[in-house]
Symmetry: C2
Subunit: 425 residues, 2 copies
């Protein structure tokens, strides 16, 4: 007798919700012990994981998976070491749960405040990276949340091996293994059902391409926190120090072009364009960056034969390149830069390079983005770089949490009210 | 030539988004001056408002609207005074915007922290209460948010008059009136379109019945904060002081039975049931409360002829009565009470009446609700009562904000990063 997959899914969500009740007030010792068990077992059972992963790789090659995807899918002894080290590092972070804040006594004698508690049950929907299985489980567990894992079908064998290890590690730490529910069914038609279980699931985190994120946002009745794209501008103001501006623009574009916080568009004030652009472009050309130039920047750079220049088209503004490509535009004023960012930015990371105090303040005030920088590379928008320890993702929405999501950002709070017989008049 | 209503709606959302940019950094003086103008104009244009409201009332009577609905719809000189006073009281609250917090300097010299900013654009979808038009506008404005108003068709004339006053008041305060967009079209088929405008709208607040809230949650691609029902339990523990327990239970049930934080179910420990229940039931009977009793409480109370008793059915557990009715159940232990609350509560407000320290602590730790009380009436779950000044609603979800939503809860933050040339290694 087979169970209807939708009913099986509902049962899994119910088990997660039930198990999350106790996990919510499980102490840090048990949670850390589970994390240490996971790390140790990943290392001691490397061969089992690699065998399972080899099957996934074989299948992926058969269906002609693209090299970049294959790369994400592949585990090696070294990457398993890294995953285990990440789990241990989560274990070393302070417990986000239990903090009491905003506590005060009202005139009627009620003492009340907020206590940080887990969100409850988090569903993660992700694609072909098996490391996400361990990574998101470790973060959810540390913050006291049950997790429902729905990975891509390409990594089903790797995920099964990893989840088996996680379950064993939880049991040895005395934590109900129902706090981790792995959806061992890669039928895509189940996902819309999962996204409607708002009675059992408190948050959905989609991790993957823009298609997945869009699908989840449009079909979920559960709150979603999703990062998505990052179209990042750096505005080089008239008063910028040119050496600093060149170094920052170069770093923001080149240090990791595939990152969502990498530079996409350089905006430069017309008064400094002729001095700044040739130096910046020469530096960027050393790493093979292609520049998509508006007419004014093309007029300045067009005579440098070593550069890779293309005339910008409308689609270049507001485009996330994720490659060694940047759009360049000369603007007449800070206002024009602010308008351009408002029109084309998507609220991720934006920077101004300036020595002008008032312009720096205006930029910080008026740009509406998760992170707004003065005289710095935008590459710092990251949980670890911002000092949050770990990162579940980066939110470009304004609800709940904005920017890097650390452990605290996958928690909620409840109001505690200590009375002595109070009734409402 | 008529404009397609969907395109007109899109244009309104776009205008709101655009106008929200400047409102986000508009100072408190202009915002408060707009609020004062609104309050003054409501008072000076009372006659115009009442005339418009009279037309709505006439229409409503024609279609045979129920008296309770008619009551919500009706404005009087006195209710307009109250609305104006509420606007002035919002004006008197501190500005929630601009607070800087969690600021620190990292080892690389970057100084970073968070600045409280408005959410951006909030859409309010509500039913037949015209006061919501002013109320939600005042709160959004104070927190720097543009607002899109979609009221019920029953109040269209009142809403038009109120919005006209608001627009004039904004203009006199030098604030772009586009920050308030009134959808002057009550065709219900427009609502699903509105709920898909996640590029222009940051938050949707549905205010109305559970049907409206369910519809919005299921159809919105925009984050939703909705309260909804409140099934509230009060558990009278074995060690409770009986006088205190009686007073609290009475207050929680009777002080305002139609409120979402009113008591629905009394759980009572078997050791105290025979002493507590007759006293509590007698008190509740003075106000005509009907009790739906489980067999054990019925055995205790059944011989009191002055009581209104009914045998409880399964549907009574987890039911929000919104009336002078309460369910009563005798439980064997704190654990049974906790399990009952976990099974039937919906995360609003839950209370324990006890003199036992450990049981109080367990209740506070283990109950998962927006507000958890010891020895107090649950009727205090309210923005004003909790000291938040004003209230947009009460959230029973865990994302973003939980419990009463004050001005701070309709804000977000952005990361400010002050650099001096930092690049990422």
């Amino acid at each position: 007798m087979t169970v209807d997959p939708v009913i099986e899914l509902e049962m899994q969500c119910r088990r997660a919700k039930l198990a999350s009740r106790k996990l919510a007030y499980t102490g840090i010792a048990a949670k850390n012990s589970a994390l240490e068990n996971i790390a140790a077992d990943l290392l001691s059972q490397k061969e089992t994981i690699l065998e399972a992963n080899a099957i996934d790789q074989l299948e992926a090659r058969k269906i002609g998976m693209a090299p970049a995807m294959l790369d994400r899918l592949a585990l090696t002894p070294y990457t398993i070491d890294l995953i285990a080290a990440d789990v241990r590092s989560v274990g070393g972070l302070p417990d986000p749960i239990g903090e009491i804040f905003d506590m005060r006594t009202l005139s009627n004698g009620l003492t009340l405040g907020k206590k940080r508690v887990p969100l409850g049950v988090i569903a993660a929907i992700y694609e072909s990276r098996p490391n996400v299985t361990v990574d998101i489980t470790a973060l959810c567990l540390k913050a006291g949340n049950a997790v429902i894992l729905r990975g891509g079908k390409e990594t089903i064998n790797s995920n099964r091996a990893l989840v088996k290890i996680i379950i064993g590690a939880l049991e040895r730490a005395g934590i109900d293994p129902n706090v981790v529910q792995f959806i061992d069914n890669t039928d895509r038609s189940l996902v819309p059902h999962l996204l409607k279980m708002n009675d059992r699931i408190d948050l959905v985190i989609p991790r993957g391409g823009t298609g997945l994120i869009k699908f989840v946002k449009e079909n979920s009745t559960i709150p979603v926190v999703a990062g998505g794209a990052g179209v990042c501008h750096t505005f080089v103001d008239a008063s910028a120090r040119i050496d600093r501006a060149v170094a920052i623009v170069y770093n923001a574009k080149v240090q990791k072009p595939s990152a969502c916080n990498a530079l996409d568009t350089i905006l430069v004030h017309r008064e400094i364009a002729a001095a700044f652009l040739p130096k910046a472009a020469a530096e960027l050309a050393n790493t093979g960056v292609e520049l998509h130039c508006d007419p004014r920047s093309m007029a300045i750079l067009g005579s440098q034969p070593e550069l890779k220049l293309v005339s910008a088209v409308d689609e270049d503004w507001g485009k996330e390149f994720l490659a060694l490509t940047a759009a360049v535009k000369v603007v007449d004023s800070l206002d024009e830069a602010l308008d351009h960012i408002a029109a084309y930015g998507d609220g991720h990371s934006e920077a101004i390079i300036t020595e002008d105090y008032s312009n720096a303040q205006r930029f910080l005030n008026e740009v509406d983005a998760a992170a707004v920088y003065v005289n710095s590379s935008t590459r710092f928008t990251d949980g670890a770089q911002f000092g949050l320890g770990a990162e579940v993702g980066i939110s470009t929405q304004k609800m709940h949490a904005r920017g890097p999501l650390g452990l605290k950002e996958i928690t909620s709070y409840k109001w505690l009210v200590y009375g002595s017989g109070q009734t409402r008049p």
